[in-house]
């Protein structure tokens, strides 16, 4: 495998080439093993170092008792998990709506037809307002404000208004993501579609949007992560989601391990999403480097 450097370079036989093409990784296996070993070693060493420093420092015991108590973790987890189901529910309801509303806002904002001017102006206004305002503020405003109006027929539940608030702010962000995607498509693509006799709408639908959406899948997934985390903000207006449950537990026991439980649950959802985003980004980067479409 590792030819002696003095030897003249040898051409590969047909069989070797064949093997190479079937399993190109064979050549790199040694390198992979080596870097795996190094990575493991350095992680262990660093971990040990941190553990040593922590255990030697004063107050570590106190930290461990109030944040890392296995007993309280077991106690709190079922309630926090109960609350987390609400976070997931809000996410699952909000995300599809966010995607649709975001796309519509982006299309409205990019429309050039003068007839649509009011719609375009509305989209710009909407995006500016809800991208500019902190999500928590919108949640408080809708969650406390709207039910206070006592308007007949409008729902009163805080969960409902919290979800609406999250949808509004996330849609504004998502709209900008879609807009960037649409603007990244070369105008020649639309021109080519139009030159074939396709209407504006058809060109958008069949030629521009499929490419634009594919280009923004990674940032959209980042938006998923952000939205999932933002669901915890609705706790501010009362609903018993994971953060609120953890807070209640901590409030009665004076132990903060419940927050760790909640954090772990959020991480269990957001970390895989984040890894998937990375993976897609790397892949699109690679295929772009080779000049291909994503």
């Amino acid at each position: 495998m590792n030819p002696d450097p003095v030897e003249a370079p040898r051409k590969l036989s047909e069989a070797e080439i064949e093997a190479l093409l079937v399993r190109p990784s064979v050549w790199k296996r040694r390198d992979v093993q080596r870097s795996l070993l190094i990575a493991t070693l350095s992680t262990v060493v660093l971990g040990a170092l941190i553990a040593y420093v922590l255990s030697e420092s004063t107050g570590w015991d106190a930290v461990r008792r109030s944040f890392l108590s296995w007993h309280h973790f077991q106690e709190a987890m079922p309630r926090v998990w109960d609350g987390f189901k609400l976070n997931i529910k809000i996410f699952l309801i909000a995300e599809p709506i966010v995607l649709v509303v975001g796309l519509l806002l982006a299309l409205a904002r990019l429309s050039r037809n003068p007839v649509l001017f009011p719609i375009r102006a509305f989209a710009v206004f909407f995006i500016d307002v809800f991208r500019g305002a902190p999500a928590l503020l919108v949640i408080l405003m809708l969650g406390f404000g709207v039910p206070g109006l006592r308007i007949e027929g409008l729902p009163r539940e805080p969960v409902f208004w919290g979800t609406v608030a999250i949808i509004l702010t996330s849609s504004a962000y998502t709209a900008e993501t879609f807009r960037a995607g649409i603007e990244s498509i070369h105008p020649g693509q639309r021109a080519a579609a139009r030159s074939l006799g396709l209407s504006n709408v058809r060109a958008q639908l069949h030629v521009v949007l499929p490419q634009a959406i594919r280009n923004v899948i990674p940032p959209l997934l980042s938006g998923f992560v952000a939205l999932q985390k933002e669901t915890s903000l609705v706790s501010a207006i009362g609903p018993l989601e994971a953060t609120r449950q953890a807070q209640i537990y901590a409030g009665t026991t004076f132990n903060f391990t419940s927050y760790l439980a909640a954090a772990l649950l959020f991480a269990a959802v957001t970390v895989p999403l984040a890894r998937l985003t990375d993976h897609l980004l790397v892949r699109s980067g690679k295929s772009r480097a080779s000049g291909g479409a994503v």
Partner: protein, 247 residues
């Protein structure tokens, strides 16, 4: 007098305050091939884009078979289908296979069935030596192959006129040949064409008439022999001297 296939009547086009076409008039007869030559920025692409209604003109008229294509109430999408346009940068749809690139507008615009559209696509792909590429995606094709697919895509809609905008400019010399062969083949099929080109040799060989543009005007138009060998206008002569010297 027979009506011309495509006719420009004193066409003016400005981008903002920049007047790019200054009263261009041009008659193209059925089965005729007209080449547009002229320096960069002389308005060749703009003229072709106006005929395909990708740009709105500011004054003048454009007629297809004697009927105005810019009159109010004219269905612009319908006109675009009847006047095909091929771009310098191919502009194939990267998210569709070659076959889909060629069939999908047929299905939508001409309401052909899928099998009908595919039959037409394969017929053309075969004629231009591309039938083995039907399932490939555009970015797996060479520039020359992509450009030939772009021509096939435009032809699949059975346009009455085909506009070709410097379709060989992005290609290296070997591929230029294969694309020019396609144009030659289209001419034998009797296709009415206007092509903007920098290949003087090819223009002389393929064109029935050559139009020389400068500053948004047609300075001179005539059969290749006359325009190339005995230009009337000193500006034409100067342009040709410059271009032919660099060739």
């Amino acid at each position: 007098m027979t009506t011309s296939k495509l006719r420009f009547d004193a066409v003016y086009k400005a981008y903002d305050r920049n007047l790019v076409l200054r009263g261009v008039s041009l008659d193209v007869q059925e089965h005729e091939v007209v080449c547009l030559i002229g320096g960069s920025g002389s308005g060749k692409s703009t003229l072709l884009r106006c005929a395909n209604l990708l740009e709105e003109i500011n004054a003048g008229q454009i007629y297809l078979n004697g009927e105005s294509i810019i009159a109010p109430g004219v269905h612009a999408d319908r006109i675009r289908q009847r006047i095909g346009l091929v771009f310098q940068s191919y502009n194939l749809f990267p998210h569709m296979s070659v076959l889909k690139n060629i069939t999908f507008a047929q299905q939508i615009v001409l309401r052909r069935s899928r099998s009908e559209a595919e039959r037409r696509a394969f017929e053309l792909l075969e004629r231009f030596g591309l039938s083995d590429k039907a399932r490939a995606f555009p970015d797996h094709l060479s520039g020359g192959q992509q450009q030939r697919v772009a021509v096939v895509r435009a032809m699949a809609l059975d346009p009455e006129v085909l506009l070709l905008d410097e379709i060989t400019s992005a290609l290296d010399p070997v591929m230029v040949g294969e694309v020019l062969n396609v144009i030659r083949e289209l001419k034998t099929l009797g296709m009415t064409m206007i092509l903007a080109t920098h290949h003087m040799g090819f223009a002389r060989h393929i064109a029935d008439r050559i139009a020389f543009l400068e500053g948004g005007e047609i300075i001179e138009i005539g059969p290749p022999a006359q325009l190339f060998d005995a230009p009337h206008d000193p500006r034409t002569k100067e342009f040709l001297d410059r271009v032919l010297a660099s060739e």
